[in-house]
Amino acid sequence: MIFEGYHPLDKTMFQVMDEEGNIIKPEYMPDISKEQMMEMYQLMIQTREADLKALMYQRQGRMLTYAPNIGQEAAQVGSAFPLKKEDWMVPAFRELGAWLTRGAKLEMIYLYWYGNEFGSYMPEDLKILPVSVPIASHLNHAAGIAWASKLQGKDEVTITYFGDGATSQGDFHEAMNWAGVYQVPVVFLCQNNQFAISVPRGIQTSSETIAQKALAYGMPGILVDGNDIFAMYAAVKEAFDRARRGEGPTLIEAFTYRIGAHTTSDDPKRYRSDEEVEKWKKKDPIDRMKKYLMSQGILTEEENEKIIEKAGKIAEEAFKYVEASGDTVLEDIFKYHYKEMTPQLTEQLAEYKAYLMERGEA
């Protein structure tokens, strides 16, 4: 029972593993197999490698704007791992690790950032919503999806992701309030990566933690070390279990750091120091898990190299596929907005096609 021992007003941060990869709270160590641990580790590496490749492609002018996840892999993989097949995920936009953990294809995610709407198309068997760019607006959707689960007696929970900046929006407060009032099975996962573009967390809120905001809405909240994958897993698992038992929503603040830029259009040197970044690099969530896995004899340096190499290849292949996909097919621009195109759209498409035809471009 983690939440009983960690009240958000105590300001203590829930940790299972220290920064050297030692398990300091064995009583909270999640009950997961070595294979599962390796799977989690691979997902973190896959996320990291996919980010690094995307950044490289972007610099080469082959990828559009991209929002990297570096530093937040544990918060994402750790929180998405306890989801079951029937559960829902409602992401913001910087959730590569969570998407991959949930089973989304890297090709799709790359395709979206590459500028093709089909990157938002989710296969039927994946209950994941597409990227939501307007900050915090998706939190109400998560509350609604979870409310529907409750109203229809469906055994499923919802997790939704957002940043510290999102907590300044009305939608955050409305969603939390709504979820509390109707006691719906949803987990609000705030990745407090300390910045909303250039604006530090101190300008988003003057409450000491984001986790404590839970109290005002009548739900438990907990501050978790977001770079500790076991702590993330354990806290989210417990929140899911509560939700499944009908005990309502939970707010989790994953305390972490965005190592890279906000997006590839951003220059973080303008608003933060190298020393600060260096300090956080020492807390790298991947290094930390690696230390643990090595100390337990679960991972060797050699295997580690292989995992990294394989992840890099997968990212390359995914991008090759995406780059070969070309431009959006003209009809696709028109055909998905309504079940059937309106007379206006039909006319506009026909007129435009006639124009292209005249130019010999259709």
Binding site: Y114, G170, V199, G326, L330, Q344, L345
Partner: protein
Amino acid sequence: MAVINLLQAVNQTLKQEMKRDKRVIVFGEDVGLEGGVFRATVDLQKEFGPDRCMDSPLSESGIVGAGIGLAINGLIPVVEMQFMGFSYPAFNQIISHMARMRNRSRGRYTVPMVIRMPYGGGIRALEHHSESTEALYAHIPGLKVVIPSTPYDAKGLLAAAIRDEDPVIFLEPKRIYRAFKQEVPDEEYILPIGKANIVKEGGDVTLISWGAMMRETLKAAELANEKGIHAEVIDLRTVAPIDQETVIESVKKTGRVVIVHEATKTLGIGAELISIINEKAFLYLEAPPARVTGFDMPFPLPRGEQHYIPSPDRILRKIEAVSNYLT
């Protein structure tokens, strides 16, 4: 006179207005320390301090709502929406309060504030970063909606917006933020809000546009010229209220009109212009007024955007069709 781009013109005007009037304050997401994601507010915090140029929480409703309060209580807020596509969380504040405080209070309270927003597509941006929804705001009584198309206009119009006693939505065409430079006087000057600009005179057909689309429209006018069609080109500059007189005078002269906008076609500013023309110059028309616009769809992601923005060639075809109508 310095040669500067549109973004620099905005920055210079903000500085001059803040210097001129201590009541002018600037805030919004990332506008302080960083100087805005486009750098429109760069150096303002350095020059005027964190009490006159500040970073706000990520809260559009808060930015506009607080701005309304500040304006009622003696200040002149010039706030930034990071992108037009993110102004909708503030929609309630803009429509329910900013636009009608003067009317509601029978003139007792006024909201002399400016909301600046980068708008428009064509920069290969993410979803929600390419919106041209000026018609949404133009539709609301109480708002003035101003859109410059050059650095020179940006300076004169922004100064006018800041000095205006009513709330002004100031839309900055981000596609041409840095696209070209122009000589802009160092000293302050004002271009009146609600006054269109005849950019090019001609007798055969009237072209009406604004903002970033002026570039494509002017190119189309050149192409038409090569074909012997002499277009008169009007930059509307203010889409609410529309300068009816300039539009009508021109249509009376040419009898033919093509309106060009990047926004969706249905219920766009083009529809309003055609209504005005039908009401006030119907008997002068030689051809049905025509529109070249974006589609009734959200602006596509970059792999499809090339289809969306009217190209000079698409405009030219329409100019030809209108010119050849019944001749």
